[in-house]
Symmetry: C2
Subunit: 128 residues, 2 copies
């Protein structure tokens, strides 16, 4: 898959998340996917996303930057949302916050096999 | 500049940081460089790095992942170090911690013109 094709595939994955189309997730995510060193598998990955949306009903993935090679995607994602209760150990309680996630993905056979994600917790704390 | 050439240039920049060769920094960093939305300029960028090393004498940049296109680099950097005193608002006080930085760079004329960095503060907190 060429770089532009992988970028397009990734944007399709993000669109899937934004429309909460969990049943389609397996089109982009491998059965044995690993997230931040934890082998969640597709079911665990879906559960993580469903939990995210339960806590942040207005969660929307906005791709600000994308760097792509033949087997990897690096994305700077922007969020502007209102998490309920405690988020990342912080008392957000429905306040509106904006923050970024910087996330690397490795692909195998056009599916995400591993994810390394860092969320800008310091930026969230600075807004509370 | 091709992707492999930009990757090599970036690794040279990291080697420059690891040998504290601040006088050479301008080979890789633009005079008007912007860091996380702040226009530091080369002087301010150097001051930031010098301050980092003052606080973390054993700071070493270890590139774990690199995704490169013709004008951008995304890097997952790993640190295993002992910051003095308060680091990112946390009482580290010389304890040994390991954490990652996910950082995006935009290049212009083979120099870094803008940097977007997120450090995994949550991972540091979990170690204290």
């Amino acid at each position: 898959m060429s770089e532009p094709q992988l970028a397009a595939l990734y944007l399709d994955y993000i669109a899937c998340l934004n429309r909460r189309d969990w049943d389609a997730l397996g089109q982009w995510v491998a059965d044995d996917v690993v997230h931040n060193g934890h082998r969640l598998g597709l079911g665990g990955y879906r559960a993580m996303l469903e939990q995210d949306v339960l806590q942040i009903p207005d969660l929307h993935f906005d791709v600000q930057q994308l760097v792509v090679d033949r087997h990897h995607v690096a994305a700077r994602l922007e969020f502007d949302c209102t998490p309920k209760g405690v988020f990342m150990g912080l008392q957000v309680n429905g306040r509106r916050i904006a923050f970024h996630e910087h996330v690397f993905y490795a692909f195998r056979d056009d599916r995400i096999k591993e994810v390394w994600s860092v969320i800008d917790k310091a930026a969230i704390q600075a807004q509370l």
